[in-house]
Amino acid sequence: MIEKILVLEVVLPLLAAPVCVLVRHPRFCRLFSLGVVAACFAIAVALLVEVRGGGVISYQLGGWPPPLGIEYRVSTINAYLLALVTAMALVVFSFDSRGGPPRVPEQRRHLYYAVFLLCISGLLGIAITGDAFNIFVFLEISSLSSYILVSLGGHRRAVMSAFYYLVMGTIGGVFFMLGVGLLYQATGTLNLRDIAARLEPSLDDRGTVLALALLVVGISIKLAVFPLHHWLPNAYSFAPPKVSAFLAATATKVSFYLLAMVLFTIFGAPFVFEELRLQAVLLPLSILAMFLASGAAIFQTDLRRLLAYSSVAQIGYMTLGLSTANATGLAGGLVHLFNHAVMKGGLFLVVACLLYRVGSVHIDALAGIGRRMPLTSAALVIGGLSLIGVPGTVGFVSKWYLVSGVLERGWTAAAVLILLSSLLALVYVGKVVEVVYFRKPAETQPIDHVREAPLGMLAPAWVLAAAAVFFGLTTDWTYGVAREAAELLLAGGI
């Protein structure tokens, strides 16, 4: 049954978007998109259950058999990504933001939901498709809609950030397209598995090496790998908080999957990590990201910016896992996708709660909020502890496997650096917690009127905070799936 309706995962949100545009009723659009996202989540979970243990489901779009036709192919890693994106979308959509983004008047709210659905559809499409050019199309669908979503933040700088994001994202997209073109030139096919089977990468073949370079740089821009991350802090800090929560939890994760897929499935670990030695670049950049971005986070005075810089650092952990190229490290990186999505999504939802009640998330405005909004602040603390990697939270699980993977590889220094960088996280999280709980509110900014956030906001934030603890204690589901996906990638399959 599930293999018959697999395509609905992408088609449902894609077609729900025009339905929203046609109906134009904001309340209907809100509930309708929530229902669609819930259906997608159900399909994704069913797929994950179905393919656990090495199963593969293939779907031929239009009935054209691959490699000629477009093939949707779901194995453990795809299903993992689908479940991650839809779960985060479900939580974010159930978050009641009381009136939507500031720059969208009520009579245009339906377009906001349509764009949000298109973004989800694009991200799911990247994760599910087995066709290289189809990935490019979905990549651009998701990117274009993220630019729009980012531009809807109330501040004028939101529009400017969206413009930067657009310029960077388009350059990344064109690089990706060129890389796919070179691969097509070399192999004569666009089906990912067919490319992988026909491609014989070697350092002497300049076309192939160029294709790899273009693909890696293009995806790295979308993933915000350290020196290419410039768009991210602005985009995440000026976007509407709900959008930040969704993008931080999903967009970079899907790009990470794409990077892993290009490196391991198309080019293969032996070529990338033994012949070309990409880790000689990736490892130093990851470590720089961990330190410099965490360092930058310490000096931020706006909570959203602080979290955005922390995201860049966390992406460093993921690419670090990638560069170990062994099952433990890669699984650590993959499990961090989910773990980071849970904690950062939760933290951005907390930011949304704070913005709604306090009106600002400048660090000075939050002084003493811990007493006025105890539940919100507690969720903030749990997310913060998880960012540091305290045992009992999801952050610890990721770092444990990352460090094991790095040690397995014999990189003792890198393992020490991971632990040291956690201290930086301790500093920036500690700074926020100190202000929220122990500092007296300034005379000029009385907080007596501030009350606890409404339930419709608090509940989704707490779902993620609870998940951050739950999956920190039970690792069978998350790490089990990630390990399976990592072994699949290392074996060169998807």
Partner: protein, 137 residues
């Protein structure tokens, strides 16, 4: 091999199409980086995209190939009156149709954002907008 041919093969001018589109691409990228005007940046982005599109179109050309339309009366093997017909590759063109649509959408969105920025900042120049941000927070 005569002299011009040797010259051509030694510098790789046989790949002149690639040189041309890499040059075009760099022109586009340079405009994006060096110009402060947002509209010009969008134009640079367009040139950049056009270079990538040209790359695909160049790739599709088969020497001596015709348009990939099977003429009336051709048999299924593609032969026509005893000799084989060589077709150009239609697939890259189809792909580029999609890429062009993506490009149009990107351009429309970028221009809309530029209009919005002009409304908010009162300027379309990036450097002036940065100054405005520094003054107004």
């Amino acid at each position: 091999m005569n002299l011009p041919e040797a010259l051509v093969s030694s510098v790789g001018w046989g790949l002149w199409a690639y040189w041309l589109l890499i040059a075009l691409m760099m022109v586009g990228l340079y405009i994006v980086i060096a110009r402060d005007n947002l509209i010009k940046k969008v134009m640079g982005l367009n040139i950049f995209q056009a270079a990538a599109i040209l790359f695909y179109v160049t790739m599709a050309k088969v020497e001596g190939g015709t348009a990939p339309i099977v003429p009336a009366g051709a048999d299924h093997a593609g032969g026509h009156g005893g000799h084989e017909i060589v077709y150009s590759n239609p697939l890259p063109h189809v792909l580029m149709l999609t890429a062009i649509v993506v490009g149009v959408a990107t351009t429309a969105l970028a221009l809309a954002l530029a209009v919005r920025i002009h409304g908010d900042y009162g300027t379309s120049e990036e450097d002036e907008a940065v100054v405005y941000d520094m003054e107004h927070g």
